[in-house]
């Protein structure tokens, strides 16, 4: 791909999975750069939520109030969007949110590897939500769960058509849910890399560096927003399974 004499821009190389030790093939158990950055995300979550709260102060320290704000933020989101019955699944939603948030932000460190920019990762997350919601829905409502595809407020003639549309949209959910996250991060990081490549040309490097700075700020926003979007969509889907009324 490296064009001879052209700009040394390899925007996709940052997404390559490599073994951490040596250059062997990547088996399912091989510790790779994916492993490293996933474990760093685990450590980050641990630092945020456990180290920060170790003093259990009634009047919180700064780090403890960050953990409390994150906890309260996701708890309110689950309660408001998914309803009171959804609070049972709050631990899993919090896990998703904190993992995605930490992975996204860690991915912004230069030379890092962004685990959430890989569709393989986000598809697992989204499929987990999709299968979980479907199973919870059938477990709680039995066949009544299917009534969410039968829009009783629509005219009778339209209902079969709407049912088909609803079913398609239901099965598209994991696709959009996962591609949205991975696509946003991949695109942002690739753009950063492209501008970084331009920065090696003296003539436009000030512009390129300025643009990189701006895009970096944007990417920081995207890192938070996408974690939020993934989580709130999870809550919306959860509402279908645990809520009593159809939207």
């Amino acid at each position: 791909m490296a064009a001879e004499g052209g700009l040394p821009i390899h925007p996709m190389d940052q997404f390559i999975v490599k073994p951490l030790f040596g250059d062997g093939p990547v088996y399912w158990y091989t510790p790779t750069n994916v492993t490293l950055w996933l474990m760093l995300a685990v450590l980050a979550v641990g630092a945020l939520m456990i180290l920060g709260t170790r003093r259990r102060a009634i009047v919180p320290t700064r780090s403890q109030s960050i953990a409390e704000v994150l906890y309260g933020f996701v708890h309110n989101m689950v309660e408001e969007v998914a309803g009171h019955d959804g609070v049972k699944y709050f631990p899993y939603v919090l896990t998703l949110f904190l993992f995605i948030l930490c992975a996204n932000v860690l991915g912004l460190i230069p030379m890092s590897f962004t685990t959430t920019s890989h569709v393989a990762v986000t598809v697992v997350l989204a499929l987990g939500v999709f299968l979980g919601v479907t199973l919870i829905g059938f477990a709680r409502k039995g066949a009544g769960f299917l009534s969410m595809f039968w829009i009783s407020s629509a005219p009778l003639a339209l209902r079969p058509v709407l049912a088909i549309i609803e079913i398609i949209s239901y099965f598209v959910r994991p696709v959009s849910h996962s591609i949205r996250l991975a696509g946003n991060l991949m695109a942002g990081h690739a753009v950063l890399k492209v501008f970084a490549g331009f920065a090696s040309v003296a003539l436009i490097s000030p512009v390129a560096i300025g643009a990189m700075t701006a895009i970096y700020a944007l990417e920081l926003l995207v890192a938070f927003v996408q974690a939020y979007v993934f989580t709130i969509l999870t809550c919306v889907y959860l509402k279908d399974a645990v809520g009593d009324a159809h939207h």
Binding site: E4, Y27, W28, Y29, T32, T53, A67, Y92, T115
Partner: protein, 185 residues
């Protein structure tokens, strides 16, 4: 200019990475790496889930509940103190009113006592005055009566003496009758 790829790199190169270690197409679509990513992702998710549910969430939940409890208790205590202050104020006002009423009652009682004493003293003085004036009246009456008697006596004696001096012979009975008639007269 490109150097001959060393054998190690050659080996590392697969369907997704070229001989220079560059990506072929989108690394996201490389099927070779997917099992690795999924395995480690699941490990990471399980670890985070365990960290959160075993340590972080009970801790934060407890702290939040404790804080809520503390705030509720403090508010309740403040409410109670406010109530107590109100009660104390009411008690103070009540005590003040009671004291005023008591003072007014004492003043009225003292006034009534004094009035009663005064009335009694007045009545007693009146009675004494009446008694004394009655006594005086009686004495004046006596004096007057005795004076009248004395006058009669003197008049009789004088009349006798006069009659005798004039040379007459006066018997006592007629002189007395004459004086008496005269005095009545």
């Amino acid at each position: 200019m490109a150097t001959q790829p060393i054998p190690v790199l050659e080996e590392a190169a697969g369907a997704c990475v070229d001989a220079h270690g560059g990506a072929i197409g989108m690394p996201q679509l490389c099927v070779e790496w997917v099992p690795n990513q999924i395995f480690w992702l699941l490990v990471a998710l399980v670890l985070i889930y365990l960290l959160l549910t075993r340590i972080a969430m009970p801790r934060i939940g407890a702290v939040l509940a404790e804080r809520k409890g503390t705030i509720t208790n403090d508010l309740a205590a403040a409410e109670e103190l406010k109530q107590k202050a109100k009660e104390a104020e009411a008690a103070y006002i009540q005590a003040l009113a009671d004291a005023r009423a008591e003072a007014a009652r004492i003043v009225a009682a003292a006034k009534a006592d004094i009035q009663a004493d005064l009335d009694a003293a007045t009545a007693k003085a009146d009675a004494e005055i009446a008694a004394r004036s009655a006594e005086s009246e009686r004495r004046i009456g006596e004096i007057r009566a005795s004076a009248l008697e004395s006058v009669t006596e003197v008049a009789k004696d004088t009349a006798k003496e006069l009659v005798a001096a004039l040379g007459g012979k006066a018997d006592a009975r007629s002189v007395t009758a004459a004086v008496t008639a005269r005095l009545k007269g």
